[in-house]
């Protein structure tokens, strides 16, 4: 596009355009980056410095905010809880969805489209709508302050998206592959387990990444299910820490920076799967 513009308007105007273009992007970049930088650098200040010296580098540097958090057991405890909940949720939702998606993609039976539509409708109802009755239900089942009180509902609400993505992928695997496997004596389960799942590795990676991120950031459900601090996940820990040290801004900044690290690290590693999964539904008509 730029090349065409340059042809028509001459090099000088093209350069002007590209400079103004850069300016817009840089301003917006600053809008995104400044809060993050403020948090990282602010974590090295003390609260006095934050108001007297808001923009400069810390002097002196106060690493205690960070080290205090790192040496406190509760941060690591929350990290382990978050990891456990995320991994368990992902295993359950991807496992069950793969099985269901296999049936939806490869078998014909009465009521298939009805059941599939039922699952697909679930896309429209995130936690907020169901959380109160869910709480009543889980209390009856004795799942409060139990990690499965968070894991199972998260998995249930993840089913629609996961099934839709996996079904679409399973449909792209040629029927000949299945026929060849059947001729070689493969059962349906053998085909699913030994051929379909290995072939679907990229799609499985995508839905797993989506499930991990959703679980990692979930706040509403753990908030109502976990009363016991021993089960708190990172979002709950952040909220609690903020209440506890509300006057000590710098310490809170250090805490949230450390809480950001795992999510950003995961994003750095799994960027392609994450973005691929999020945009899968929205682009290809």
């Amino acid at each position: 596009m730029t090349a065409h513009v340059r042809e028509r308007t001459g090099p000088r105007l093209g350069m002007l355009r590209s400079i103004s273009l850069h300016t817009v992007v840089i301003i917006l970049g600053a809008f995104v980056v400044v809060p993050l930088l403020f948090a990282v650098i602010g974590g090295f200040k003390d609260t006095g410095q934050l108001s007297t010296n808001p923009f400069g580098l810390p002097s002196p540097w106060v690493p205690e905010n960070y080290t205090d958090v790192l040496f406190s057991g509760s941060f690591w405890r929350q990290l382990v809880n978050s990891i456990f909940v995320a991994v368990a949720t992902t295993l359950i939702v991807v496992g069950l969805s793969a099985m269901a998606a296999y049936v939806f993609a490869r078998f014909a039976f009465r009521g298939r489209e009805f059941l599939y539509t039922l699952f697909a409708m679930g896309l429209m109802f995130p936690f907020a709508v169901a959380i109160l009755p869910l709480f009543v239900l889980l209390r009856t089942l004795g799942l409060l302050d139990n990690p499965f009180g968070v894991i199972l509902p998260q998995a249930a609400f993840g089913l629609p998206m996961t099934i839709i993505i996996l079904r679409a992928f399973f449909r792209t695997i040629p029927r000949e592959v299945e026929e060849a496997a059947t001729i070689d004596g493969c059962t349906s389960f053998g085909f699913f387990w030994r051929i379909l799942l290995p072939m679907a590795r990229p799609a499985l990676a995508t839905v797993s990444v989506l499930a991990v991120v959703a679980s990692w950031n979930n706040f509403f459900l753990p908030l109502v299910i976990f009363n016991d601090p021993n089960w708190w996940t990172i979002p709950l820990g952040v909220q609690q820490f903020t209440g506890q040290y509300s006057a000590d801004t710098a310490r809170i900044l250090a805490y949230i920076v450390l809480a950001m690290v795992p999510a950003l690290a995961f994003y750095a590693v799994a960027e392609r799967q994450l973005i691929g999964g999020l945009t899968a539904g929205a682009t290809k008509g």
């Binding site: 850069h22 995104v32 602010g42 950001m260 290809k284």
Partner: protein, 332 residues
């Protein structure tokens, strides 16, 4: 082949006849039984989990919404018919929730999405560092709402928050404000945080949509003498239709269900001036143990989402399954 998740209506069952094809009689029956067993075994776990934890709660909410119930004891006893609903629609806070939801939706559609679209178009061009910017703009989406909320609580704090410090430093101290603590500015501040957190997500959607448009179309238009603006207006924008419609849909559904960010930033305050339906539901259902009334709010949220989603699919996204534009997309 990945059809858009939200428009994925029952596809033509092209593979129906093949399965049911003829075979030798006894083995066909056996295979059929085997098939049925496989279907049941594979489908049942997901169906049970979904039925128990997604569908049952919605039914349960409809049931409890007809009772006055503090959540104690077995099942609710005190049947009050539709009183919870009449109370809700006479409640200024709830009516305010609806108005504030509408404000957020309109702000989102008028400011956030066009901004995301503009940035996506800029980043689609060849420029230095565009991969970096893409990574950067999307990063806030990965952070949890809680972290975002706490961070912006610090930044927008009236005493020595970063926002006021910056305004003071560039000589605009007249614009300093107490942001989240002021009923007049709280919605604007909330929206600002939402833009920070979510515009990168919409940008990524648009970028992906833009990249799936064949280059030749732009080239053809430019040969026909269309400048960059005309190319955008008459080629890119119409072809981005499906993506834009999904992005609008997600944005509206998100606003209807908004909870985490508001809860952490303001808890709905000051004096309900940033409260959303989900926050009101949480206040009554969990904080004041009025489970019946809280359930009634859940039911209304559910109905609003349902009516909106079905209507949107029926009248807006419908176009995506017909017409030349998307058919072309399908064939590629």
């Amino acid at each position: 082949m990945t059809r858009p998740a939200l428009t994925d209506r029952p596809a033509a069952a092209a593979d129906l006849p093949r399965r049911a094809g003829p075979g030798s009689a006894p083995s066909a029956r056996r295979r059929r039984f085997r098939g049925l067993a496989t279907i049941t075994l594979f489908l049942l776990p997901a169906l049970v989990l979904f039925g128990l934890l997604v569908l049952a709660p919605i039914v349960l909410a409809a049931y409890t919404s007809l009772y006055k119930w503090n959540g104690l004891g077995g099942l609710p006893q005190n049947w009050i018919g539709l009183d919870n609903f009449t109370r809700m629609f006479a409640d200024d806070v709830f009516l305010g929730d609806l108005r504030r939801g509408a404000v957020l939706i309109i702000l989102s559609l008028v400011i956030q999405l066009p901004l995301a679209l503009a940035i996506a178009m800029l980043l689609n061009q060849k420029m230095r560092g565009r991969a970096f910017y893409r990574l950067l703009f999307f990063a806030p989406y990965v952070l949890s709402e809680v972290i975002t909320g706490v961070l912006f609580n610090m930044i927008l704090s009236p005493e020595s928050g970063l926002a006021n410090q910056i305004l003071g430093a560039i000589g605009l101290s007249s614009l300093e404000s107490s942001w989240l603590a002021e009923p007049d500015t709280v919605m604007m501040s909330l929206f600002l945080v939402m833009v920070w957190k979510y515009f990168g997500f919409h940008m990524i959607l648009y970028l992906a949509g833009r990249q799936s448009i064949p280059k030749e179309l732009g080239e053809a238009a430019s040969i026909d003498g269309a400048g960059p603006w005309k190319q955008f207006r008459y080629v890119t924008l119409p072809l981005l239709g499906p993506t834009i419609r999904i992005s609008v849909f997600l944005s509206i559904i998100g606003a209807i269900q908004l909870f985490d960010l508001v809860w952490v930033l303001t808890a709905g305050g000051p004096i309900h001036s940033s409260e959303t339906m989900a926050v009101t539901m949480f206040q009554f259902g969990f904080k004041r143990s009025q489970i019946g009334y809280g359930s009634a709010i859940s039911v209304v949220m559910f109905l609003i989402s349902l009516v909106f989603a079905l209507g949107y699919q029926r009248f807006v996204m419908r176009r995506d399954t017909q017409g030349a534009i998307t058919t072309m997309g399908d064939q590629r």
